[in-house]
């Protein structure tokens, strides 16, 4: 039987506040273990949490950026469970009154737009970090670092609208892009500031009812989202095909072995006993306040993509690549402003520039190339001072050293040879060195022209002005002398 994959994602995103959600401890990453802690985030008895205003601001921005309805009243709740990384014995989260509901994210799958609906976005505190014993001395122990405890998160819950691991990946990519544009998170997946849990189930095609799902926990890269889901789909398919049942459970993805394994069995299924957090008062957001925040949102990836295709006439694929991050999109627009050939700019950015950045694992805002320099180089190509091939050398030099294009051309002697006398000399030499081909050409084998152009380009190290080269070759070969 053929099965349909059904996936819903719960994405956790760390908000880029300076302090924790309910206390004034720093959220700085990489501090000594347990340095960023205080009685509030350590869950000492009798302390009183106070909500960080910026957390609400960021969460509302994220909600608006994903077309959610911002609830006029939202409230925190206690989610009760025991785990050593959770000092209070409960996590402060939101339950029946989340900050935002509804909303959607559009993804592009094979050029087709697909709408992925969101159930909700809520605010919550992160838990601490557990280090397992082998790395710390006692393999029979675990070690807790509470620096991350109380760091603000939003959880973005999607409807089970995703139908493949590719869609899940595309959704994560788009969501990351939106959150970066909205400037609410650094979305650093390696440091765990963007991670997701995937609910995966299968059902026979055509069946409306969902199959039993498993939850894959704490996936922290685009690659792993896809791989973990692929593995899980395969595992569930083979279970169903053998007539076995999928059991409702939480599983972890082991990226080293490329498998998922059971973390908690069904008997231990959670009962979180949510109840309203009595230490925190409700948050009431009137329309005016939400409106104020909405005004500060920048143009988001999807409208920007659509504007890029309409305004610059570039393909949808180009627009998608170029709008992946705001700095990249800004770089593109600034370059086009200076050199108004949108497709040429796109080609250079998507090809050479992105390749170099990827090789160096560098962000565009940190590299030495500027829109002015790239536009300057494209001007030189347009003016015929350099050709496309030489431009590659100029580009590399500008990228590596931050030099101006004109300087590179001058210092390396890369300008095109555009004076007739020099090229004529080269042409004469080539004709002399290739008497057979010359004779053949004159006897009607005109397709040998390509050969001669090649020879000339080689002799001039690619610097001969192509139009002039063609003209002179034709002249000399045609004259018959």
């Amino acid at each position: 039987m053929k099965y349909e994959t059904v996936i819903g994602l719960e994405v956790h995103c760390q908000l880029k506040t300076k302090t924790k959600i309910f206390c004034s401890c720093s959220t700085e990453f990489g501090k000594n273990p347990n340095e960023n802690t205080c009685p509030i985030c350590l869950g000492m008895p009798g302390v009183l949490p106070v909500l960080n205003r910026q957390v609400v601001n960021f969460a509302v921005r994220a909600g608006l950026a994903t077309h959610c309805r911002i609830e006029p009243m939202n409230q925190f709740a206690r989610k009760n469970y025991f785990y050593p990384d959770l000092p209070k014995g409960y996590q402060v989260s939101q339950f029946d009154h989340p900050l935002a509901t509804g909303g959607y994210v559009n993804i592009l799958i094979d050029g087709e737009k697909k709408k992925i609906n969101l159930t909700r976005i809520h605010m919550e505190e992160d838990a601490g970090k557990l280090v397992h014993g082998e790395n710390m001395g006692n393999p029979e122990s675990s070690y807790v670092d509470f620096n991350r405890t109380g760091v603000p998160l939003i959880e973005i819950v999607s409807e089970p609208d995703l139908r493949s691991s590719e869609e899940a990946r595309a959704y994560m990519v788009e969501l990351k892009s939106i959150l970066e544009y909205a400037d609410v998170s650094d979305c650093n997946m390696e440091q765990g500031s963007l991670r997701c849990d995937a609910n995966v189930s299968l059902r026979p095609f055509g069946q409306e009812e969902f199959g039993t799902r498993t939850e894959l926990k704490n996936i922290n890269s685009f690659k792993f989202v896809q791989k973990a889901i692929d593995y899980e789909v395969e595992r569930q398919t083979s279970l169903l095909e053998q007539g076995d049942k999928v059991i409702l459970e939480t599983r972890l993805y082991d990226s080293n072995r490329g498998v998922t394994y059971s973390m908690r069995s069904k008997e231990e299924a959670h009962d979180y006993r949510y109840f309203p957090e009595p230490d925190l008062v409700p948050i009431v957001l009137d329309e005016a306040c939400v409106e104020e925040i909405a005004k500060t949102l920048p143009e988001l990836p999807e409208p920007k993509r659509e504007r890029f295709t309409a305004e610059y006439g570039i393909p949808a694929y180009d627009a998608q690549v170029l709008t992946a991050t705001r700095p990249l999109a800004d770089f593109y627009e600034e370059t086009v402003k200076l050199h108004n050939h949108p497709k040429a700019v796109s080609n250079w950015m998507m090809g050479d520039l992105l390749r170099e950045l990827k090789n160096d694992d560098q962000e565009i805002q940190d590299c030495k190339l500027t829109p002015q320099r790239l536009a300057g180089m494209l001007d030189l190509i347009e003016a015929g001072t350099i050709n496309g091939k030489i431009a590659k050398t100029v580009f590399e030099e500008m990228y590596n050293t931050g030099a101006e294009p004109e300087t590179v051309v001058k210092e390396k002697g890369l300008g095109q040879i555009a004076d007739e006398a020099s090229i004529e000399k080269l042409v004469d030499q080539i004709l002399e060195d290739n008497p057979q081909q010359t004779a053949d050409y004159r006897n009607g084998k005109e397709k040998l022209m390509g050969y001669f152009v090649g020879q000339l380009m080689k002799a001039s190290k690619g610097q001969a002005n192509p139009a002039l080269a063609n003209k002179l070759l034709k002249q000399k070969l045609g004259s018959g002398s």
Partner: protein
């Protein structure tokens, strides 16, 4: 009404290890308590707005400014087993 309490499950959720004797003694007591609380369900609350908080207060916020409170405090020393800057606990995942 709710006398069907699963004492084993409740004990597990609360991380309590109960002997059989204790279970036999506590299960009926707990059931009684829950039944008593259920009396509240008999009240007609259809006209009462759900209470979000016991105080008529909303929107209490803090600014996002880092402050190191009690810089001298050594919380780790309060723990049963502090080790290498961490809180040492029984092994979690094997």
């Amino acid at each position: 009404m709710s006398s069907e309490l699963n004492i084993d499950r409740i004990a597990r959720l609360a991380r309590l290890k109960l002997t059989d004797d204790e279970k036999q003694k506590l299960a009926p007591q707990l059931a009684k308590i829950v039944d008593y609380i259920d009396l509240l369900g008999e009240l007609d609350t259809s006209d009462v707005e759900p209470t979000a908080h016991i105080l008529p207060v909303q929107n209490v916020f803090r600014e996002d400014d880092p402050v190191k409170n009690f810089p001298e405090a050594d919380y780790l020393s309060l723990a049963p087993k502090p080790d290498k800057g961490h809180y040492e606990v029984p092994k979690i995942i094997g």
